[in-house]
C-alpha cells in the first residue's frame, strides 16, 4: 500500500495549541529586568519519522526495567525475599513435617502421566500402574500434607535411611528436607487402597524428600 500523506490544505504536522497571535515587537528588556517567560508551547515538530516517539517510549521501557533490575540486583532485594517464599519455589529446599501411619506407604498414591526428573506417580492418568513391575520408592511421588496443611507430592520418604528401622505402630511425625522439582496440576490423588482417585484443583509442588528422620 502506498504511503499516505495529509490531504491538501491540512498541515502534515499537528496544529499548535493556543498559538499566540503575533505580538507587536516588544521593547528590548532592560538588563535588570527578569527574563520574559516563554509560552510553554511546542514549536511545530520537525520530526518527520513518526516512529521517533514510539522508539523513545519503547527504549524507556527497557531503561526503566533495566534500572529497576539493577537496583534490585545490586541490593540483593529479590534474594532477601526468596527465603520468605518458604522454599515453595522451583529448586528451593525446605524442611517439611508430616504426620503418618505405617500403612501410608501403601495408602498414599497418585496418578499422572508426567515425569519430573525421573520422578512420577505410581499410576498413569488412566489409573493403570505406571510400571508393571512396581516403582521404586525413591522415584515414586506420593501425596502428603504438611503439619501446616500444605499439600505436596514427594518421593523417597519411605526409602530414606532414617526410616529403615521398624516404624511405630501409632501415628508418628517425620521431618524431611524437600527439594521442589516442579509443580503438577494434572494429577489425581488417592488416600487409601480402596479409595478412588480424585483430581486436584490447584497445582501442587512436587519433588524429592531426603534426610527423613522421626524426631525423638
Amino acid at each position: 500500500m502506498p504511503e499516505t500523506h495529509a490531504s491538501a490544505g491540512e498541515s502534515p504536522q499537528p496544529q499548535v495549541a493556543d498559538s499566540p497571535t503575533p505580538p507587536e515587537a516588544p521593547p528590548a528588556p532592560l538588563p535588570s529586568e527578569p527574563p520574559v517567560q516563554q509560552p510553554d508551547v511546542l514549536p511545530p515538530s520537525k520530526v518527520t519519522g513518526e516512529f521517533n516517539v514510539l522508539c523513545y517510549t519503547l527504549l524507556s521501557l527497557f531503561v526503566v526495567s533495566f534500572s529497576v533490575w539493577l537496583i534490585f540486583a545490586w541490593t540483593g532485594y529479590g534474594k532477601r525475599y526468596a527465603p520468605h517464599a518458604d522454599g515453595w519455589y522451583m529448586g528451593g529446599t525446605r524442611t517439611v513435617e508430616v504426620t503418618l501411619v505405617r500403612d501410608d506407604a501403601q495408602n498414599l498414591t497418585c496418578a499422572s502421566d508426567l515425569v519430573l526428573e525421573g520422578l512420577h506417580c505410581g499410576y498413569r492418568a488412566n489409573q493403570e500402574p505406571f510400571d508393571p513391575n512396581g516403582t521404586e520408592d525413591r522415584l515414586q511421588l506420593r501425596p502428603y500434607n504438611t503439619a501446616d496443611s500444605v499439600l505436596f507430592l514427594g518421593a523417597g520418604l519411605w526409602s530414606s535411611p532414617g526410616l529403615s528401622g521398624s516404624l511405630p505402630k501409632e501415628r508418628f511425625t517425620v521431618v524431611c528436607n524437600f527439594r521442589m522439582v516442579s509443580a503438577i496440576k494434572s494429577v489425581s490423588l488417592r488416600w487409601s487402597p480402596t479409595g478412588s482417585f480424585g483430581p486436584v484443583k490447584d497445582a501442587v509442588p512436587a519433588g524429592l524428600l531426603s534426610d527423613c528422620v522421626i524426631p525423638q
Binding site: P12, Q15, Q37, T57, V68, I71, G78, R80, S182
Partner: protein, 440 residues
C-alpha cells in the same frame, strides 16, 4: 557509528537538555517555579513510593494468585489455565520470575516496570495530544502521585499493564503520519487486548483520532484489523507455552470457554464488586494488597488522589457536554472558542471518547462482575485531560494552579502510607480510609 561517537552524542544531548532546562527555569516566574518544584517532587516521590518494599508481603495477596503462580507454571511448562484472561500479562510477568526467581519480587517486577512506564507514556501522550510540554509534566506528575496507579504498580495485577498499553496504543495513533504508524497502533491494540479483552474498546478512540485529526487518510483505519490477528497469534503462543493445544481451533475453543466463564461469573455476588457509575464517585476502591503483622497492617489502597479524582471526572464528562451545549444555540456558540481552540477541542473529544469507550463494556454487560480496578484505563484518559486543562489554566491563573498542585501534594503525603504499604495501626489506617466502603 563508533562507541566514542555515541558517547559524545549522548553527552552533547545531555548538555543540550540541561541547558534547555536552565533556560526555561530562568524564564519562569516565581509561581511557575514553585509549581515545577512540586511537580518534580510528585514524580520522584511517586517513583520511590512504587519501588520501596515491593516484595512485601512475601506471598500472593488478593488476585495475585491468578498471575504469579500462573507465570511460574508457564516457565515450568506445567499446564495451567488458571484465570480467564488472555495470556500475555502472565507471559510478561514471567520475565520477572526469570530475573529474580519465584518470589514476591519476581512476580511483581514486570508490573512495577509497567507502572513506572505509565508515567512516561502519560507524559508523551499528553505532549503529543496537547502539543504542550508543560501539560505533559502535569500528566506525569498526576499519574505519579495518584494512589490508584501507585497501588496497582505495586501489585501483580495485569491491569497496570493494560492501562499502559492502552495509552501507548493511543499515543501511536496520535503520532501516526502514515499507514505504517496506524499499523503499529493496530499491533499495539492487539497486544493490549492480549492482556485483557476490554482493551479492544481502545479501537473507538483510535478511530476517532484518525477521523478527527486527519493526519492520515481515513481508510488507514483498516490497518486496525491487525489487532485481532496479533491477538490470536499471542493466544497461540501462550497456549503452546502452557502446554496446551495451540492450533486456531483450540484457541477459539479456549476463548469461547473463557468468555463463557467470565459471563457466568457475572451472576454471582461479590462483596468487592461495584457498579460502573460508582467509580467516578470514588465509592468503593479496593485495598489490593493487605498484610498484617501484630498490631499493624500494610495497605495498598487503590483510592485515588481526590484532588485529581473529582476534577478529572467533572472535566471528562462536563467538557464534551459543554461543547455540545455551546453548539446547540447560535447565541452560545461564541463561548467555547473564547476558551478553547480547535486542536484543544479535538484533544478533549479524543480523551472523553476514550474514557467513555473503555467504560462501555461495564455499562452494557458484566453484570455483578465489575470492580473498581476496571476504572483504571478510563481514569487514565480523564487524568490526561485534567493535565491539559491545568496547563491551560496555569497561563491565566498560575497561583490558583500552584494551590491546586500543592493541595494534591499534601493529600498525597497524607495518603502515601495507605498507598505504599507503610506499617499502620488500625486507627492510623482508618484515619485515611475514612469511608467504610474504602476499608478492606
Amino acid at each position: 557509528m563508533t562507541p566514542a561517537k555515541m558517547v559524545r552524542g549522548a553527552v552533547e544531548t545531555g548538555k543540550g537538555a540541561w541547558q534547555d532546562a536552565v533556560d526555561r527555569w530562568g524564564a519562569m516566574e516565581r509561581t511557575a517555579r514553585a509549581t515545577t518544584v512540586l511537580l518534580a517532587c510528585m514524580i520522584v516521590g511517586g517513583v520511590i513510593l512504587r519501588i520501596q518494599g515491593i516484595g512485601f508481603p512475601p506471598r500472593n495477596t488478593f488476585d495475585e494468585q491468578f498471575y504469579g503462580p500462573t507465570a511460574h507454571h508457564i516457565l515450568l511448562g506445567v499446564p495451567d489455565l488458571h484465570d480467564y484472561h488472555p495470556p500475555l500479562g502472565k507471559l510478561l510477568g514471567a520475565i520477572g520470575l526469570i530475573l529474580f526467581g519465584y518470589n514476591s519480587v519476581g512476580w511483581r517486577f514486570m508490573y512495577l516496570c509497567f507502572g513506572l512506564q505509565t508515567i512516561i507514556i502519560a507524559f508523551w501522550l499528553t505532549r503529543q495530544l496537547f502539543q504542550n510540554r508543560r501539560a505533559a509534566w502535569f500528566a506525569a506528575a498526576f499519574v505519579a502521585a495518584d494512589g490508584f496507579f501507585i497501588a496497582h504498580s505495586r501489585t501483580a495485577f495485569i491491569d497496570i499493564m493494560l492501562v499502559c498499553l492502552i495509552l501507548w496504543s493511543v499515543l501511536a495513533v496520535v503520532t501516526a503520519r502514515t499507514w505504517r504508524g496506524i499499523a503499529v497502533a493496530g499491533i499495539l491494540i492487539g497486544i493490549a487486548t492480549s492482556i485483557k479483552w476490554s482493551a479492544a474498546q481502545t479501537l473507538v478512540p483510535a478511530v476517532v483520532v484518525v477521523l478527527l485529526f486527519r493526519r492520515v487518510r481515513w481508510y488507514t483505519i483498516f490497518w486496525f484489523g491487525l489487532s485481532p490477528i496479533v491477538h490470536i497469534l499471542i493466544w497461540m503462543a501462550g497456549l503452546h507455552l502452557m502446554g496446551h493445544d495451540s492450533d486456531p481451533l483450540a484457541v477459539w475453543n479456549v476463548i469461547l470457554s473463557s468468555m463463557t466463564s467470565l459471563s457466568d461469573l457475572g451472576r454471582y455476588d461479590n462483596p468487592l464488586a461495584s457498579p460502573w457509575y460508582s467509580w467516578p464517585a470514588l465509592y468503593h476502591p479496593i485495598v489490593v494488597k493487605l498484610s498484617s503483622s501484630g498490631t499493624t497492617s500494610r495497605y495498598a489502597s487503590s483510592a485515588g488522589n481526590v484532588v485529581f479524582w473529582f476534577p478529572a471526572a467533572l472535566l471528562v464528562i462536563g467538557l464534551p457536554l459543554a461543547r455540545g451545549l455551546t453548539a446547540w444555540r447560535a447565541s452560545w456558540r461564541k463561548y467555547w472558542p473564547a476558551f478553547f481552540d480547535a486542536s484543544f477541542t479535538k484533544a478533549v473529544l479524543v480523551l472523553a471518547t476514550g474514557w467513555a469507550a473503555l467504560l462501555t463494556l461495564f455499562v452494557v454487560s458484566m453484570g455483578k462482575h465489575s470492580f473498581f480496578y476496571h476504572y483504571l484505563p478510563p481514569y487514565a484518559f480523564a487524568i490526561v485531560l485534567l493535565a491539559g486543562v491545568t496547563a491551560k489554566l496555569e497561563r491565566r491563573w498560575p497561583r490558583a494552579v500552584l494551590v491546586f498542585v500543592a493541595l494534591s501534594v499534601l493529600y498525597a503525603i497524607y495518603f502515601a502510607p495507605a498507598w505504599g504499604e507503610f506499617s499502620l495501626t488500625l486507627k492510623e489506617a482508618n484515619r485515611r480510609l475514612i469511608f467504610l466502603p474504602w476499608r478492606p
